[in-house]
Each structure stands twice: as structure tokens, then as C-alpha cells.
Subunit: 231 residues, 2 copies
Amino acid sequence: MTLAACEVLEKAEVIVGYKTYLELIPNFLVGKEVISSEMMKEVERCRIALTAAETGKQVALVSGGDPGIYAMAGLVYQLARESGFAGTIEVVPGLAAINSCAARLGAPLMHDFAAVSLSDLLTPWELIEKRLSAAAMADFVTAIYNPKSKRRTDQIVRAREIFLAHRDASTPVGIVTAATRENEKIAITTLANMLDHEITMQSTLIIGNSQTYTWNDLIITPRGYGNKYEL
Amino acid sequence: MTLAACEVLEKAEVIVGYKTYLELIPNFLVGKEVISSEMMKEVERCRIALTAAETGKQVALVSGGDPGIYAMAGLVYQLARESGFAGTIEVVPGLAAINSCAARLGAPLMHDFAAVSLSDLLTPWELIEKRLSAAAMADFVTAIYNPKSKRRTDQIVRAREIFLAHRDASTPVGIVTAATRENEKIAITTLANMLDHEITMQSTLIIGNSQTYTWNDLIITPRGYGNKYEL
């Protein structure tokens, strides 16, 4: 958590959030009006936060990761726009999966990268495939969000095939599951072997580019294709 | 700054960093061995940090943004590997330009995105063009790092052309210069008009995807192409 997020939570009169996230910050909840809700109730949570803010109260809506990356910020603005919300909204950036997973894996994001979610709930699968192909073809280091769920198990298989059409089977792949949580798991593997490792809905994958290598169970992408730093 | 970064700085016996960054954290330097250096001395700074760590001291190497995104983490590992460093290295993730600029602009990164640096110092320009085309063609929201320097002024012109070949001229573009610093500047513009705004080596651009819209001087990308959230 950032110092800026701590300050906002301290000043807040109302704290709204998903139950599991609020349980991680018990100290900030003391003496506050706390409204917690279950998973998948994003719209409800945002509406409650906006309604409370319209009464003039300082409201903090808690998000996991970075609210600005595949998260709550957009929904808050969308609902604010549609309801004619007249107050002030501030997005406090945080550490997204891309930041924390990269740190856990070594230094995979030292060069151009793409992030692709495999969830086809809101996005046509054809477009997701197009993005995977584009990222693979143009040698982007690629972070895969939402690789799998109970319902969706084929997408990660297809994503791997697409990358194998453009990148060597020995390309390093990192799998971080439940990053920074108690049950965090890290696997350093390759495009060839990645499906032999556990991948869940809590996993984020990072696939290296053509220059990425492993050292001491870390994934490292050089900063370029030449070598500015002759050593 | 994150609480984890504060903890590491408090525990450190030696703090190494670029002068301008160390000036931002005076309270953490009291009573420490402080080694500051000028810009562009990245290799020297990493070597000093590694050497100090090999004497058994707790060393913190300070980086701007997120050390794991286009930053120092890779160089530290590269030098550690080549010198046979035997100590422990931990990357403490932070807020990259992509996190802080997105927060400043609204919610542009709600869907798949790519980050491309226009610096051709270490990367062939042909590959950078290939990446820009791939990102534009596959409708990635795209963050442009290092858009311009005193020496390099044509790349951003070419990047815009590439996007215009795939995306509407009215596509929202956000330009954040010197994010979170005193001299921070934000411009909300379009692909058509982006070159009328100041773009410097301290700027990061975010180009929306085909669904991105503006509202109240904010850039918002919907979470999908359908609409899960009927409102």
C-alpha cells in the first residue's frame, strides 16, 4: 500500500469495499462507517460510494491492486457520468498485478510489454486472439491476466499455441499465483512446459520476449537489443 | 511511495541513488551512509550498491517509478550475474509512470494495453514501428514512454501516423508531463491534435482504444466491448 492510500483512508469518513480487502486493513476501519460487500457486487459498491459522497462525506472505495488497471476506476466514472454525480473523484494509484508479479519474478518488464486478459466475458474471443498474435509477433513481453477460471480452461492452451507460432519454446514464462498473499506461489518455466504448472484464476503469467533469459530462478529481460552497457 | 519501500529504507545502512531522487526523501537519509550520483551513471550506481551489499551491509538502491518497469532492476541483476554476486536481491515494486499517469488521466487502462518506448538508443527503430503497428492494429490502449528528447523529435510524429492508420482521429490521447512532480502538466487531447501540445522527455502519452471516450476532461476506457453492467 502507498503512503498516499494510507492518508486517504485516514481522512475518510466512510470506507466501502470488498469484504476480503477490508479484512486486510483493520486498523483503518476503527471509528469509520464501513460498508463491505461480497465479490461480484462491483456496481453496487460503486453506487453506494457515490451516493455517500453526494451527502458531502469523504468516502474511500477500496480496490485490490491498482484501481486504474483493469479495475474499479472506470466503473466509478461510468456510474458517476450516468447518474450526473457532481462531487470530486480522485484515483489513488496502487500496485497492479503487473508491478507486483514482475518484482517477484526478477526483472521481466525491462522492455516493451503488453497486458492481455483472457476473459471473454466482455470481449469477443476473436479480438483477444488478435491481441495475443499481435503481442507475440511484435516481440512484446506479455502479461496474461485472467488466464483461467473454472468455466474457462481452453483459452490459456490457445494463448500458448499462438505464442509458440512466433517465439521459441524455451522462452521463459513466469507464473505468479496469489501475488503477495499468504498462499503466493511462483513458478519459473517455459512456453514449452508452462501448462504443467498450476494456473488458477488468481494467476498472472509473464511471457518473456526473444531476449529474455533466466538466472538463479529469476526472469530477466535486457533493456535493449544492442548493448549500451559494455561490461 | 509504498509502506514496503519505507520499511526497506528505514532498515538500510547504505542508501544509493540518483541525486534528484534522494532529495525527495531527506528524512530517510539521516544517520545513513548515502551515496548519490548524477543522472546516466546507472551502471556505476548499481555496482556501488552491489559492492556495498557484498560487505554484508543492508543496501537500498533508490529508483524512480517502479524499478521493475523499464528501470533499474534488470541492470542490477545483469551486473550481479556477471560479477558472481552471492548476496540476496529484492525488488520492491513501486508506481510506474503507467500507474500514476493513468490515475491522473481518469481510467484509460481498464482494458488490454501495451507500453512502447520510442527510444531507439538500444532498440532498432524498425522493431519499435512494428510494435506500434501491432498495438494500433489490435486495438490496445497504448502507453508511449520516452516520446521525445532534444535529439529525437520525429519518432512521435511517426507514431501518430501509425495510429491514425488504424484508429479514428478523434481517439482520446492523454499527455502527462512530470507526473506527480511540482511541474506536472496534463493535457487531454486527440490523435488529431496531440502534436499541438507540449511533449517532452518527461512526458508519457496514453492513447485510447476504439471504445475510449472523454468525460469532464477525463479519459475513460470501458471494461469491455459488450455491456455486462446494464445501467
